[in-house]
Each structure stands twice: as structure tokens, then as C-alpha cells.
Amino acid sequence: MSERLQQAIATLETIILGKPGQLRLAVACLLARGHLLIEDVPGVGKTTLAHALAQVFGLAWQRVQFTSDLLPADIIGVSVFDRNTQQFHFRKGPLFTQLLLADEVNRASPKTQSALLEAMEERQVSTDLTTYRLPDPFFVVATQNPREQAGTYALPESQLDRFLMRIELGYPDAAHERTLLREGERRDLLPQLAPVLDAEHLLALQTAVRGQHVSDALLDYVQSLIAHTRAHDDIRVGLSPRAGQGLLRAAQAWAAICGRHAVLPDDVQAVFAAVAGHRLERRDAQDAADGLRLASRVVETVPVPA
């Protein structure tokens, strides 16, 4: 199983060039049953990453471009009246898939956003007295463009908390940029990509991640990290208990990716910025990068117990 996972990651690396860290974080997020928020300018390969993940993990996927006039029904689905049967009949929206790419999620109205985010949290959708379970695995990759302000609704903190991780892709370095320029559109490679895993494998992996050993010493460390964010003077709100759980699960997933059976402080540190970055906010300044900086400062400050 672990070999398959390594193979999947290796395959992804052939598509997304020069981003091994972000790639692994995305996979860790998937394995930890969390949802991923990618925040970056357009054209750095956000969609390609989502698509490649779906392809390599053998998942059915849907892409929804969020716009200001998108309605909740547009993603959840609608009940339509069937003339033949004289009955209402629920037509599932694009939400009912294994991997949903919610592109530019901050462009949609808060109403639509919250419909999506609620579905993410509950992993089910309720309409007309009927509850529809979403498929399992269910993984949302949302993207937003932080530079674009006009006509957007930035996700509020309460909604950001629903994403296990937020990552930034950033520009490729010179060598990878050269490869990109030479080889052309990466997305074209995707259809030729054979899936390494399938949904069942992924579920097994997700279960295995939960079983990763967590020692008391590690919990001490995780707790002191969380406590530090809550006691820190510069931080407006510390990490929530949900964030703490997510941090631990993400670290478990990271340990699994690294081929370990026990979670080490290294694993916690590796995922901490991605998990905590969008949840921490400075008291004074308002800048997305601030959260990341705060998170890395927390990691650099809190001692790892001997």
C-alpha cells in the first residue's frame, strides 16, 4: 500500500513540476480526509493539481467555476418535476462527486459558499426532507485568488476553519519554468495518465492514516503548540480544538507519506504552517501571508520536549 502511495506521488511529481512539498501536503490533506484550499494567482497550476490528484487516485471529479451568480442549487442539485411519473425527482448537482474542484470560490455569494462548506463538513446534503449522502471519498479542492478583491467575497474565518489546509503554489523555479516552457501544457499529459490507485485504495489509506501511532510525548508537543497560539499576544484567536484535531490527522498523514508508522514532531512541523496558517490572524495587520509567518514563528518558538 505504501509503495502504491509513493508511486502515486512520484507520478504526480511528473505532472506538477518543482512543487514536491505542496504536492505532498495536498496528498496528506486527501489522506487525512480534509479539504484543501489553494490560494494563489491564476495560472500556477491549481486546476492541474486538482485534476492530477483525481486522475492518479482514480477518483471521479467535477469542476465548478464559482461566479457571483452561482446559486446553491447549481452545485447541490435541484428537484425537478417528472411529468411521466408525476413526481419530484432530485437531480444531483456537481457536488456529488469524489473530488470537487471549486474554482475561485471567493467569487460566489456567501450563500453559495456556505452551501458548499456545509456539505464539506457534513459530507451530506439535505433538500426537500431528504438527505443525500455524498460519495466517499469526498475531497474538495477550492481555489481562490487573493489578489483579486473587487466583486469577491473573501471566505470568513469560520469558513476557512473548514479547510484542513491552505497552501500556496507559487511560481516555479527557473529550471522547472524552462521545462514547462519547453514541454507545453501539462494538462494535456493528464488523460494519458494511468490511475495508480482507486477510491477503495484511498479509503483504506485514509483508515490506515488514522491508525498511525501517536505517543503521549507527541501529544504534549501538539498541545504546547496549540497552547502557544492561544497565549500569544500577537495572535487574535488561537487554534480551535477542531484545528488541533486536524493538525494531528494531517501529521499522521504526513508520517504515512514519509513511510513511518509513528508520528514525529517533524511531521507536525511539516504540516503546521499549512494547517494553522489560514486560522491564525495577527491582531494588527491584515495580510494573508501574515498567518503563514505567524505559524512558522510558532513552530520556531515552541520547544520540542526532550
Partner: protein, 658 residues
């Protein structure tokens, strides 16, 4: 919902509790206006805190301070001494309470409370007060804890539990200091006490003036015998000897003394130790007849009583030896005759007549004494504690009129008759009897055991004790006063007499109290040296005591460190953690110290990067550590083996691969 109280309330309430309870310790020693002032100050301060009102200004406080000082001065006529000092401290504490703003002021108030506790300890050390002092100390410590961390110690239980634990930890240290801290010889701590001692005795006796016999049940002294105690009729405890009689009052005339002939001792010997209650007098009480002065603190007077150099202001204990009788064949000096026969002229004529008649009928002095005693036995005399008043010719009235009285009356009448008959006589006061405490194995002699008897001079025998009371009330020699006259006993004594268990309880308590005095309060330099001897030091010296003190302190510190490993667990790593730290220390020598926040694998990677020659070993050790610390299952053997591996690591500097 009530609005939350200001944060200062809790420390302030504790400060008030500590101060208030300290004032309570002094309550019966203070004039009523001072505790009332303290109460008002506490209420005012709490109200100010709750309402958020302003504290009184500086001028008001200065005025108050002056006023209070004057008030204390007016009440005590001094600011010196324990009582006035405590009163001043209490009133200034009340004033300080009205200017407590910050933690610093709280600490000052706590210092006041602790100082009041110290003053109370100096003032009174009775066992019954010890629980109060302990409670006060507990409250003070809890208050200190709350002042230090008001948020952390909510409620009543948390601070009290913390303070209790701290005091429990301090207890062994207190014990070590108590046992070994060098005592200053002499009464360094003895502050001038107001003379408030009680005694059933005085150096005067005026039978008939007032019913002067004390009804106090308070102990006068306690006696432990080596071996068998004397039988009840021999338990005469000698006190002031009254020589001078003016017709109504017997006095101990300080100016008159005469040389007594040497005496031989006769009869059984008793060795015993007396522990005197404070009386403020120079009298030491010993069993008749004491052989010699017990020690340098007292001397034996010509009339064979013990006189101490210093007044008995605190509990005094001494060892003495007594024999049953003294005998001398030498004659009494002329001066002795003169003093011991003196009677005021023209008073008590009927007594004189009676004495002459009886003397004429008796062949010698001893027979005369017997005849007088017979007279007492025959003529219907009655023993009572509430005799009628007597006038100028007190002895005449008593002998021929009222015929009712207690020991003083009989002693006075008998001595007068003896003198009138030409036999030298004097009145001896002291105590008779004593109650056996089977728990503590000692006798308690109480103020109610006070007694008076007579000594007459018989040629060829010397001073001979005659107790005329014994003729009238022979039971008095066998039993205590209250057995004789149950109605005279105070309520408590009466209760104890009617309910044996109360008596037993009282005896048990008295035994405990005595043990407390003997073992704790009187534990001084001598007891310390005795302890050293028992510990096997042949010739105890101060240096050994000091060494013992040091050893005790070291032991206590070691114990505390051992205890504190639980408190400091989070900061002090376990064995694995120590091995890990020592590994880090080894790499630190070549500039590769582990950052506090550096995770293990990242550390290994950094070492490998900087020193590829160390990479393999570092990776292996770090991996082992990570597996032990964060992996499932971690057995002690693996940890030991890891620690050994760390010890074997030799990090050499300089070899830096390109």
C-alpha cells in the same frame, strides 16, 4: 446575574481574614476599642473594594495614626512591652488596611498578621492555644498564596490545600530547627510581663478579715516523685513562714531573721521534681523538709523555705530532696525566742487566760500543745470555708465565739495560744496534699490546696509541725478541700467530681499539657545536650549541635528535592530525555546544538548536512530516539541501550568533509 467583583476582592478578603484572625488571638488582651476598630477597618475596606470607592487620603491617615498612637498611650501608659506593642500593631494594621492598594500592601498586612501571631506565641504558650496558632498560620499561608496568584487559587479549598501542603512540607524543617537550633541561654525571649499571676497564698494572713481562701482550681505546681510518693498526711508543701502577729494579721516580717541551729534530718527520703506555675513571687514550693537548695537559682532561708533569686514569671522546674522531719538538740537563739513569742499587748485577753490555764496544767510544752489540740477537738469547732467575720480581738472571738473557720483560723489561734503559753510558735503557709494524675504519673497541687499550719519549738526536738486543722477536720489531711466541702468547689471541679469521666478527661488533658510544657516549651540547651548524649555523643558540644543542624537541613533539602521531582516533571526530562539531551550536548561541542524547537529528524538532517562524516551515526541515534519517544511501546532496556550508545558517541571536531 451579579456583576463580577473586582479582581482585588479575593486577595483583600484573604488579607482581612488573616489580619482579623490574628486580632482574635489577642482579643482578651486588648482594650475593647481596638478590636472594634479593626473590625470597622475591615468592613470599611471591603465595602470600598466592592463599591469601587476611594480610599481615605494621606492627611486623614496621618491624623488617624497620631490619634491611635495617643489612644494606645492613654490606655497602656506606655508603648513598650508586649501588650501595648500588640495593641499598637493591631491599630496600625487597621490603618494600613485602609491604604492597601497593591500586592506590596497585601504583603505588609500579612507581615502584620504574622507578627501578631508571633506576639501571641510569646505571650502565651499553653497547649490549648496551639491549634489556634496553627490555624492562624494556615490562614496566613493561604492568604500569601492567594496574594501571589489570585486567579489560580479560586474558592476556599484550593488556597487552604496548597498552604496545608506547604506547611506539611515545612514541618520536618521546623522539627529539625526545634531540636537542634542553638538556644540562647537565659531568658532572651522573656519579655517583661504584667504581673498577673494567681496564687492562693500571700505573705500575709488575716483570719477573719475576709474569706480569703481562694476557690481557684488552677494548678500551683506539679510534682513527679522518683519512687514512692509520701503518704497523704506527709504532703506538706512549705511556703512563706509568718512570724509577726499584730493581733489580727500574721506577716512575714522581712527585717527580722535569726540564726537557726543546725538540724539533723530524720525519716524517709523523697526525691522529686517540682514544676512551678508562674506566680510572680520568689517562692519555690518544696516538700517538708527540704534538705538543701536545689540549685543556684534559689537558696534555703533560715526558716527552711526556698527563695528564688528571680520571681517565678514563667514555668520553673527544679529537682529537690526532702526528708520527713528535722531534729535539733541545740537551743533556739535568744532572738529566735523573742520573735517567736511576740504577741501584741492588750489584745485577745481571753486567749491569754486560756493559754496560761492550760500551760499551768501541762508538765511541758508538748503536753501543753496536746492540751490545746484537745481543746479544739472538745469544744465543738467546725471547719468551714465561709466563716463569719472577726473583729479586733480576732482570736478571742474565734476561740470563744464563732468557733467556725478554716485552716488559717486554726493556725492563727493555735500559734497565738502557744505563744501566750510561752512556747515559740510560728505560722507556716503552703499547700497540703495534691491530686495524683495516673496518666502523667505526677501530682497536681492546686491553689485550692493552700493550707496553713503551725510550727512550735520543742526543746530537744527543734521546730515541730503541728496542724490544728487536722484535729478539727482530720479528713483534710487525707483528701482535698473539695472532698471535704463539695459545695465550695467551682462548677468545673464539682462536675468533674460528680462525673468520673470528666475528671479523667481533665486529668488526661493536664497530663498532655504537662508533657507539652516539659517536652516542648522547656526544651532548651540542657535538653539538647541530653539529646546529643542519647544519640551517642560522649561529650556534647555546640559544634556537634551545629553539625546535627546542618545534617538535618541537608536531609530536609534532599527530601524536598526528591519531592519536587513531581512538581517539576514537565521541565525535567526522564531517562530517555536526558540521554537525548546529552547527545545534543555532544553535537553542541562542534557547533551543532539542537535548537529548542528543532524536531529530531530535522536535527539529524542538519547534522548530516554539516558533517557528512557524522551523518550515519546521527541518523541512527536520532532514529532510535524518535522510535523510542514517539513510537509504540518503549521498553526500559531499549532506553538503557540507547543511553549507552549515546555515551559511546565521540564527536570529533575539525574533520569536515568537503
Amino acid at each position: 446575574m451579579k456583576p463580577p467583583l473586582p479582581a482585588r476582592i479575593r486577595p483583600l478578603a484573604w488579607v482581612c481574614a488573616a489580619y482579623g484572625s490574628a486580632v482574635l488571638l489577642h482579643l482578651d488582651r486588648l482594650p475593647p476599642w481596638i478590636p472594634a476598630l479593626a473590625l470597622v477597618a475591615m468592613i470599611a475596606r471591603m465595602l470600598i473594594a466592592v463599591r469601587g470607592a476611594r480610599l481615605p487620603g494621606a492627611w486623614a491617615r496621618v491624623a488617624f495614626a497620631l490619634l491611635l498612637t495617643v489612644g494606645v498611650l492613654a490606655t497602656f501608659r506606655t508603648l513598650n512591652g508586649l501588650a501595648a506593642g500588640s495593641a499598637l500593631l493591631v491599630s496600625m494594621g487597621a490603618l494600613k488596611l485602609l491604604e492597601t492598594r497593591a500586592r506590596r500592601d497585601d504583603h505588609v498586612m500579612l507581615a502584620v498578621a504574622l507578627f501578631l501571631l508571633l506576639a501571641a506565641c510569646l505571650d502565651r504558650q499553653a497547649l490549648v492555644r496551639m491549634p489556634l496558632y496553627a490555624l492562624q498560620l494556615w490562614i496566613d499561608c493561604a492568604a500569601l498564596a492567594v496574594i501571589a496568584t489570585p486567579q489560580a487559587l479560586a474558592g476556599l479549598r484550593a488556597p487552604l490545600a496548597l498552604a496545608g501542603r506547604a506547611l506539611a512540607y515545612a514541618l520536618p524543617l521546623a522539627l529539625v530547627l526545634f531540636l537542634t537550633f542553638p538556644r540562647l541561654q537565659g531568658g532572651f525571649w522573656a519579655l517583661p510581663h504584667a504581673n498577673r499571676a494567681v496564687t492562693g497564698l500571700s505573705d500575709e494572713m488575716s483570719p477573719g478579715q475576709i474569706d480569703e481562701l481562694t476557690d481557684s482550681d488552677a494548678p500551683a505546681f506539679r510534682v513527679e516523685f522518683d519512687g514512692a510518693p509520701p503518704p497523704p498526711p506527709a504532703r506538706y508543701w512549705r511556703g512563706p513562714v509568718l512570724q509577726d502577729f499584730d493581733g489580727t494579721t500574721w506577716r512575714r516580717d522581712r527585717g527580722r531573721f535569726f540564726l537557726e541551729p543546725d538540724v539533723q534530718f530524720e525519716g524517709p527520703t523523697w526525691r522529686y521534681r517540682v514544676t512551678l506555675e508562674p506566680t510572680g513571687r520568689n517562692w519555690w514550693f518544696a516538700l517538708e523538709s527540704v534538705v538543701a537548695a536545689p540549685d543556684h537559682r534559689a537558696r534555703l532561708t533560715f526558716d527552711r523555705r526556698l527563695l528564688s533569686a528571680e520571681p517565678v514569671d514563667e514555668v520553673v522546674s527544679f529537682a529537690a530532696t526532702s526528708r520527713a522531719r528535722t531534729v535539733t538538740h541545740e537551743p533556739l537563739s535568744k532572738l529566735g525566742y523573742r520573735y517567736s513569742l511576740a504577741l501584741p499587748a492588750g489584745q485577745n485577753p481571753r486567749t491569754h487566760a486560756l493559754a496560761q490555764r492550760l500551760r499551768a496544767a501541762s508538765p511541758d510544752a508538748a503536753a501543753f500543745a496536746r492540751a490545746v489540740l484537745d481543746h479544739f477537738a472538745r469544744e465543738g469547732f467546725e471547719y468551714t470555708l465561709t466563716p463569719p467575720r472577726l473583729d479586733r480581738n480576732a482570736v478571742d472571738e474565734f476561740l470563744f465565739g464563732t468557733r467556725r473557720g478554716f485552716c488559717g483560723h486554726y493556725a492563727s489561734a493555735f500559734a497565738t495560744l502557744m505563744r501566750a503559753g510561752g512556747v515559740p510558735a510560728r505560722v507556716v503557709t503552703g499547700y497540703l496534699g495534691g491530686e495524683w494524675n495516673p496518666i502523667g504519673r505526677y501530682f497536681v497541687v492546686r491553689q485550692s490546696d493552700a493550707h496553713a499550719w503551725v510550727e512550735i519549738w520543742l526543746e530537744g526536738r527543734g521546730w515541730t509541725r503541728i496542724d490544728p486543722t487536722a484535729v478539727v477536720a482530720p479528713e483534710r489531711l487525707q483528701r482535698g478541700l473539695y472532698d471535704l466541702l463539695p459545695g465550695a468547689a467551682p462548677v468545673v471541679a464539682r462536675l468533674a467530681r460528680n462525673n468520673p469521666w470528666i475528671g479523667e478527661l481533665a486529668q488526661a488533658w493536664d497530663a498532655l499539657d504537662t508533657a507539652w510544657r516539659k517536652r516542648v516549651l522547656e526544651f532548651g540547651a540542657a535538653s539538647q545536650f541530653a539529646l546529643l548524649e542519647r544519640l551517642g555523643f560522649d561529650s556534647p558540644r555546640w559544634q556537634q549541635l551545629g553539625a546535627l543542624l546542618g545534617a538535618g537541613l541537608a536531609l530536609w533539602l534532599a527530601w524536598m528535592s526528591w519531592q519536587s521531582r513531581f512538581w517539576l516533571r514537565t521541565s525535567r526530562p526522564d531517562r530517555l530525555g536526558r540521554a537525548w539531551q546529552s547527545l545534543g550536548a555532544k553535537y553542541a561541542r562542534v557547533g551543532l546544538a539542537r535548537g529548542a524547537a528543532e524536531a529530531p529528524l530535522a536535527y539529524a538532517a542538519r547534522i548530516g548536512e554539516r558533517r557528512p562524516d557524522l551523518a550515519a551515526e546521527a541518523l541512527d541515534l536520532v532514529g532510535r530516539y524518535a522510535a523510542l519517544r514517539y513510537g509504540p511501546g518503549c521498553d526500559a532496556r531499549a532506553i538503557r541501550s540507547f543511553a549507552r550508545a549515546v555515551r559511546r558517541v565521540r564527536v570529533t571536531s575539525g574533520v569536515r568533509a568537503a
